[in-house]
């Protein structure tokens, strides 16, 4: 007799039910939507929804629903992507001075589904539309910049120590310091060695000159490159956030690349402007002799300029710049060891540090300001045509009093909160890119193609699935229907796993789902053919079922492991869509083995396992 113990049946039932629940969110429609947030300093209020609704009504764009999201955002849902794009245009044209909008796709889930924390599969860019950009970071330039800083530093050190040198320069990836005589070289070597303990130093004699060469160790180069990459990611993230995309992904890929994915974004030109935007910082003294109010009234003092803080307060600053953002080598937030208040510690490079020391020595007790300068490009519709305008935005992000003279390393204290310190450090660091970047790959998928891909993908899966089911039903009769049930369970479980781990579904991924259906069929066919064979060999029905499943199992595992090897290799090598295929293939094989071997056995056991039979409907 073929019987599963009760616990096994319950376990299988439990797994399938869990799968059904996890896969559930996918049956709800994905609405084309627009996320609306306030621009910096503003707020989304209850009035906003009414305002937007009115604007859309005026433009005759039907909106399905407006939801309020956490974090002061609104979500406008639309029935079609045409409405969505139209609405985006309306908002861009009429409300973009106060709100920024981002195209997105949002599943229309009932409240109870959302309450359970269930989410549908993540759709890849090829299915939902959006922009994918692969950015290459110029690591040679990053290393060169680091060397250049060493050149400056060494020059300063030698000058401060009054050691006479001929030249300090950069040559073939190292710093070469030339001296006229041995004595000064030895003195110079000591000075350099004291300050740069971790650099690789070498002394040589060449053409009557005495040289000290300083090079970065491989570990340092790695560190510089990591820093440059990390810094660039931070900078790009800040810039992309300004773009207003619903769920941007900015991630490191390999040693020197950054992937930027903007689901729903439609304008690669604008993205490139933003990515290539130049933002920088300036340290300036505050003009305390003249009043900002006078300057606001148009009576600006010579040598000073009027700035505004983020909250719009006027500040009068001296025209002379003390240090700029590209001279900042590092900035990090923390707590002041004496007062325990939040602070930001900043490091400048040598020339910046020198200027800073000069200026602070002369101006102890006076306030100093940090100005954040950004070139923002905005696109506005003028007479129905998009017109691009670049404007320079200058904001004072912090004002602090100089307590004592300082140089290369200093701290800004007196910040209100740890959050503020963190943000300031981020801004200080994110001013400029640490190394030049270049876009090496770009893929933009329009929303219409994305929808097309979904439709075609789903249609081919449904048709393929029905064809397979029809064949199985005809060929294996009742057992064929069992196989079909199991195939359906396989697809449900696969979708459940993909939703649970929030894997990205791509068009090749959909193809992968269909292929796993084929693979799952194979397992069923192997078992059924085996059972038929056993029956032909004169075995009893129960013995045939038992041996059929038992013998086919080893074959199924052996034959599927090989496909899994291919899936793993695909995953580790592939990018984007191909990775999506590898994931569905991998999990599809797992679920197909589970459903075909264990799931179908359970059904067969329940239907036939407890009876004396002389034949099977197979």
């Amino acid at each position: 007799m073929n019987q599963y113990p009760l616990w096994k049946n319950l376990l299988i039932l439990g797994i399938v039910l869990t799968g059904l629940v996890l896969a559930l969110p996918n049956i709800f429609s994905q609405d084309p939507a627009i996320e609306v947030a306030a621009v910096r300093g503003g707020h989304v209020t209850e009035a906003t929804a009414g305002e937007i609704r009115a604007a859309l009504e005026a433009a005759q764009v039907p909106v399905k629903r407006i939801d309020t999201l956490a974090g002061g955002k609104l979500l406008l849902r639309f029935a079609s992507s045409g409405d969505q794009l139209h609405a985006e245009e309306v908002i861009e044209n009429t409300l973009s001075d106060r709100y920024r909008s981002a195209l997105t796709l949002s599943a229309d889930l009932p409240r109870w589904v959302r309450a359970l924390g269930l989410r549908p599969m993540n759709l890849g860019l090829d299915l939902r539309g959006g922009i994918y950009v692969l950015i290459d970071v110029d690591m040679d330039a990053a290393l060169d910049q680091a060397l250049e800083r060493h050149v400056e530093d060494i020059r300063t050190q030698l000058r401060d120590a009054k050691v006479r040198y001929v030249t300090v320069g950069r040559e073939k990836g190292r710093v070469v310091v030339k001296f006229a005589e041995v004595a000064s070289r030895d003195a110079g070597e000591k000075v350099i060695a004291k300050e740069f303990r971790d650099l690789k130093m070498q002394t040589l004699e060449q053409d009557g000159e005495f040289l000290v060469t300083v090079a970065q160790t491989p570990a340092q180069q790695k560190q510089i490159q990591d820093f440059a990459l990390q810094q660039n990611i931070t900078t790009l993230r800040n810039r992309v956030n300004a773009l207003g995309v619903a769920e941007p992904i900015i991630a490191r890929q390999g040693d020197r690349r950054i992937v930027v994915q903007l689901p729903g974004a439609q304008d690669p030109g604008r993205l490139k402007e933003i990515l290539g935007a130049t933002a920088t910082l300036e340290y300036r003294l505050v003009d305390t002799e003249h009043s900002a109010a006078d300057a606001e009234a148009g009576r600006a003092a010579v040598g000073s300029r009027l700035y505004k803080t983020r909250d719009g307060k006027p500040v009068l600053l001296k025209r002379r710049v003390i240090a700029t953002g590209d001279q900042i080598t590092d900035a990090s937030s923390g707590f002041d060891s004496q007062s325990g208040t939040p602070m930001v510690s900043v490091s400048l490079d040598a020339p910046g540090g020198r200027r800073m020391r000069e200026m602070t020595t002369e101006n102890v007790g006076k306030p100093m300001a940090v100005v954040f300068i950004e070139n923002r490009t905005t696109t506005k519709q003028v007479d129905g045509k998009p017109v691009k305008r670049t404007e320079k935005v200058e904001e004072v992000i912090s004002v602090a009093t100089i307590r004592e003279p300082f140089g290369r390393r200093f701290q800004t204290t007196g910040l209100d909160s740890a959050d503020e310190a963190h943000n300031l450090a981020l801004l200080l660091r994110s001013g400029a890119l640490a190394a030049p970047i270049q876009i090496v790959e770009e893929r933009t998928v329009g929303p219409s193609l994305g929808q097309d891909n979904i439709d075609k993908g789903v249609r081919s899966v449904v048709v393929g699935f029905l064809l397979v089911c029809a064949f199985m039903g005809v060929y294996y009769r009742v057992f064929g229907m069992i196989a079909n049930l199991v195939l359906l369970a396989n697809v449900v479980l696969l979708v459940a796993i993909l939703s649970a781990i929030q894997a990205t579904l791509t068009l090749p991924g959909i193809a992968g789902i269909l292929l796993t259906v084929g693979m799952a069929v194979d397992a069923n066919v192997l078992i059924y053919e085996r059972i038929r064979e056993e029956l032909r060999n004169g075995n009893s029905v129960q013995a045939a079922i038992y041996t059929g499943y038992d013998k086919a199992m080893a074959t199924i595992i052996d034959s599927n492991v090989t496909t899994m090897i291919a899936a793993v290799v695909l995953f580790s090598f592939g990018t984007g869509p191909v990775k999506g295929f590898a994931i569905t293939l991998f999990f599809g094989i797992l679920t197909s083995m589970f459903t075909a071997v264990i799931g179908s056995r359970a059904i067969v056991n329940l239907m036939y396992g407890h009876r004396r039979l002389t034949s099977l409907p197979i």
């Binding site: 893929r443 998928v445 075609k456 393929g464 064809l467 084929g518 074959t555 090989t562 290799v569």
Partner: protein, 312 residues
């Protein structure tokens, strides 16, 4: 319903002609790689592809002239999927300028009123450096998969089976690639993914037959090696044909309904299914026979220790 009851076909009887045929096909394939090369897609060559959609069927001549006016004289223009979709291909350009091409193409097309309103469907730009890396990685991926499989089959079966399986798999890869090369079908990243999946898939079939050969060597005490191999192939024939027929149904749905983007993928799989079925019989199984497998190689090694002695 049962299409194949007990078959008794002498598969191995024509193993030599089959081997010659396979070798010939493979030689033609390799010759085609060398002389015809591949029609590599954007993923591998680098360059720019812009897909645009029109409300009405687009006139390619007008699209071409609009592009030429915009400075894109060497642009390849073709319908894609339907007459309302147009695919524009631009050759790779010097590093640094490539990423702006797509935007300029759209600009050139939208300033030309004759062709009608244009909608951007997709822009893909791949730098030639990235493309080169992908070719290299793709080759490595195929190699790693083969090595992984060789090891697995050698552990689970015997070295002759592993060698036979790899020969059969290489055969399938060559045949699929040859179809792409000879008919000059675009070979892109998804097609490569399909080739890798085929490696797994075709092997699946080979392993099923191997499994049966192993089992029969242990079970059937009479007959020559060739008899046993033939018996095994016959016993699994029904499963082989049903499985591939069914998978074929699914892939055909993909090929006809999945859209242009997935075409290369589906085609590679269609070819792979056919050649995979053939190769598991005539390449994988023949190889094992030629490599001189014998019954003794597959008998389970007698267990040592008390378990053996304790038997009555």
């Amino acid at each position: 319903m049962e299409l194949f009851k007990r078959t008794n076909i002498d598969f191995m009887y024509i193993r030599w002609p089959a081997i010659w045929l396979s070798s010939l096909i493979n030689l033609i394939g390799i010759a085609s790689f060398i002389f015809l090369g591949f029609n590599f897609g954007l993923d591998f060559t680098g360059g720019t592809v812009v897909e645009v959609g029109y409300a009405q069927p687009a006139n390619l001549v007008q699209v071409r002239s609009a592009l030429a006016e915009g400075g894109f004289k060497e642009a390849g223009v073709q319908h894609f999927g339907s007459t309302r979709e147009v695919l524009i291909r631009l050759p790779p350009v010097a590093e640094g300028t490539g990423s702006t091409l797509g935007d300029r193409v759209i600009a050139a097309l939208s300033t030309d009123p004759e062709v009608g309103e244009v909608k951007l469907r997709r822009v893909e730009f791949v730098g030639s450096q990235v493309g080169g890396e992908l070719v290299e990685q793709g080759g490595l991926a195929i190699l790693y998969t083969l090595i992984g499989i060789l090891i697995y089959v050698a552990i689970r079966f015997e070295w002759r089976f592993a060698v036979g399986a790899v020969i059969a798999t290489v055969h399938d890869v060559i045949v699929v690639l040859a179809v792409f090369s000879i008919f000059h079908i675009e070979f892109d990243l998804t097609a490569l993914a399909a080739v890798l999946a085929i490696i797994g898939y075709s092997l699946n079939d080979t392993v099923v037959i191997y499994d049966r050969i192993r089992e029969n060597f242990r079970r059937v005490r009479k007959g020559t090696v060739i008899d046993v191999v033939d018996l095994s192939i016959n016993e699994t024939l029904s499963r082989t044909i049903i499985t591939h027929g069914v998978t074929m149904l699914a892939v055909l749905a993909l090929y006809f309904l999945g859209g242009q983007v997935i075409h290369g993928f589906a085609l590679a799989f269609l070819v792979g299914i056919v050649t995979g079925t053939y190769s598991s019989i005539y390449v994988a199984s023949s190889s094992v026979v030629l490599l001189g497998i014998s019954r003794a190689d597959l008998l389970p090694t007698p267990k040592e220790g008390p378990g053996v002695d304790a038997r009555p």
